[in-house]
């Protein structure tokens, strides 16, 4: 499958006071038309930053992003040409990304109107999109503050879909929804991917939904992709200790499988990333050399890539136990 988005050696550095924060540190990834890539990792590991850098709205991003055959340059959101409007992001924070003083309908209609259709047609489109995400058509007439958290999240989704993009980067798009609404929105996204061969990067901390809908997953830790490959293979045999830890911390509705695995502490401050393998201070399988040597990102025999000294290039993934 020829990738529609290809990211090479992407890095993002924020400046926080006099500190430099490397929130994304040399990421390679790709997604094909008609493919869903799940991007997972703890909060603070750089998922949102990576998403924003891919759509080209971050200062201080370094590296290369190709979209549909062209390089995404670092341009402001207002000035992007028609080509890049086909690359849309659904932002994690639906409060911050909606303008509180403008009607919902006008905000959704903006995109299609720039694309050249009349105002009434654009508003009609907005109303039917709202319906598709489970909101009443007359929501076009209302303002963001009149909606609940989950309703605002769906408005943000409708806005991104309004211009029929070729690729969507969806940052936690369904985390604030009840399970049935989650299912409805996830089905809508999957339909768009299959029907229009859209590419989707689905950022989520809900691993059970990522498992269900993504073709491939990329696991991110402290600015780096530590493991990536086909979803089922990774689920069946996680090759990176961090992947395994993430997976065992999923709470289940029957309460039984809830094992809050104690990864000590939070993701470290990316301003001071640990030496060697960035995961070593929290890794239950860390070896002496992990603190000094950064593991290579190697390909295993099943095609996945992983950065951990316990795995050997070209071999099958070794089972991890802890």
């Amino acid at each position: 499958m020829k990738p529609i988005v290809e990211v090479n050696n992407l890095s993002v550095e924020y400046t926080r006071g006099d500190q430099k924060v490397g929130a994304v540190a040399g990421v390679d990834l790709h997604v094909g038309a008609g493919e869903i890539l799940g991007l997972v990792g703890e909060s603070g590991c750089g998922k949102s930053t990576l998403g924003k850098a891919i759509v080209g709205i971050l200062q201080g991003a370094d590296g290369e992003v190709n979209f549909d055959g062209q390089q995404v340059s670092k341009i402001g959101r207002g000035q992007r040409d028609a080509h890049f409007r086909n690359l849309q992001m659904i932002f994690q924070d639906p409060y911050g990304s909606l303008n509180p003083r403008r009607k919902i309908g006008d905000q959704i209609a903006d995109g299609p109107r720039i694309g050249g259709i009349s105002k009434s047609e654009a508003l009609e489109k907005a109303a039917s999109l709202l319906e598709r995400v489970g909101l009443p058509r007359n929501a076009v007439e209302r303002y963001p503050h009149q909606f609940s958290g989950g309703q605002r999240q769906r408005i943000a989704i409708a806005r991104a879909l309004a211009i029929s993009p070729k690729v969507i980067i969806a940052d936690e798009p369904i985390s604030a929804l009840d399970t049935s609404s989650q299912a409805a929105v996830a089905n809508l996204l999957v339909n768009l991917v299959e029907e229009f061969q859209m590419g989707l990067i689905f950022i989520s901390h809900d691993l059970s939904i990522v498992r269900r809908i993504s073709d491939r997953v990329a696991v991110m830790y402290l600015g780096k992709i530590v493991e990536t490959g086909k979803t089922e293979e990774i689920w069946n045999s996680p090759a990176h200790p961090y992947t395994k830890a993430l997976m065992s911390a999923i709470p289940h509705a029957d309460g039984k499988a809830f094992i809050p695995l104690d990864l000590p502490g939070d993701v470290p401050n990316p301003a001071y990333p640990p030496s060697g393998c960035r995961f070593h201070p929290r890794c239950p399988l860390a070896q002496g050399e992990c603190a000094s040597r950064e593991p290579l990102h190697v390909s295993l025999s099943d095609g996945r890539k992983v950065s951990c000294i316990l795995q050997e290039a070209g071999s099958a993934p070794k089972t991890l136990t802890f």
């Binding site: 703890e42 909060s43 209302r142 009840d178 029957d254 809050p260």
Partner: protein, 327 residues
């Protein structure tokens, strides 16, 4: 012992097309040291229920019915008295911890000012208490943390600080509205453990509002499911989640990503969520319910008591079979 007793709570909001009831005739109790979960349709009135207990409804919003908190009736309370209760006896944390934190002030300033606002304590005492609080919520190195600003912490740590702030005046009830929605599974596990420890050590009562049935299952004793502003089912959490009796609850569980196998397609409840101000008559779920009969379309749905500890509001009660729900 019952700490909070809500009876026939109705919350009326002002919408573009006039007043509309976002919460309808809701009744529930919380015992001391108990964790009650509330889940349900997005837009079903969970946050409005919480805000009415806090006395923080949106502009022109009005609560009626009764909210009895520790012997005091909160509905119709004067703003001055509400301020006394809010933040001291009842505290709330939100999905976005920055709702309760000021971005420009140090943690020390925020915690000590909050303490001194509600209690007569010296600066020194307030600082000591602030350190103790940060320790309670497991912030590493509390002394350094006091000097820092919220932006210097990760999302999980900020939520812990927001919890410390909420706990400052030793509230009897903590309302957590989607406290872990923005957090990933590992951080989430830590926050959940913390809430449970606080419940045990301080005999704190907690209301947790979340869509995450896994979180509810791990943390709560009792669970209430809401649809269109009203309760549809409540009971011990494990029973409600493993043997739901209301068709809407069953729909929520069927929608989970790990149930049913149909490729990438998940099982969503058919139809549209109801619109505020235009809730269907009778059982509000009848427009989407596959068990609906004509009698569901008018009147109020039957209240069915189950074993004295559970109840559903459903006229048909389709899962009341000898074998229970057979799934």
């Amino acid at each position: 012992m019952t700490l909070l007793s809500v009876r026939n709570l109705t919350v009326t909001l002002m919408t573009a097309s006039g007043p509309a009831d976002a919460v309808r005739n809701l009744s529930f109790d919380i015992e001391r040291g108990q964790i009650l979960g509330i889940a349900g349709e997005s837009g079903s009135g969970k946050t409005m229920t919480a805000l009415s207990i806090m006395g923080l409804l949106p502009y022109k919003g009005k609560a009626s019915g009764s909210i009895n908190f520790d012997g005091e009736e909160l509905v119709g309370f004067k703003p001055k008295d509400l301020r006394r209760v809010r933040g001291k006896d009842v505290a709330m944390i939100f999905q976005d911890p920055m709702t309760s934190l000021h971005p420009m002030l140090t943690i020390e300033t925020q915690l000590t000012e909050h303490l001194r606002h509600h209690r007569k304590v010296s600066k020194g005492e307030a600082r000591a208490r602030a350190l103790e609080l940060l320790d309670t919520v497991k912030i590493p190195d509390p002394k350094t943390a006091l000097k820092a600003h919220p932006s210097q912490f990760s999302g999980g740590m900020r939520q812990r600080i927001a919890i410390a702030m909420a706990l400052a005046c030793q509230p009897k009830l903590l309302i957590a509205d989607e406290p872990t929605t923005a957090l990933d599974v590992t951080v989430q596990a830590g926050i959940l453990k913390l809430l449970d420890e606080l419940r045990k050590s301080q005999n704190l009562s907690v209301i947790v509002i979340t869509h995450d049935l896994g979180v509810l299952s791990a943390l709560t004793n009792r669970l209430m499911i809401m649809y269109a502003g009203a309760e549809v089912e409540s009971g011990p959490t494990s029973q409600v989640l493993t043997r739901p009796r209301h068709p809407y609850t069953q729909g929520l569980i069927d929608a989970l990503p790990d149930s049913g196998a149909n490729g990438k397609r998940l099982i969503a409840i058919e139809g549209m969520p109801p619109e505020l101000g235009k809730f269907p008559t009778g059982c509000a779920f009848h427009t989407r319910c596959s068990f609906a009969r004509s009698e569901c379309k008018s009147g109020t749905p039957n209240k069915v008591d189950i074993d004295g500890i559970r109840r559903i509001f459903c006229t048909v009660d389709p899962f009341d079979t000898p074998a229970g729900v057979n799934r």
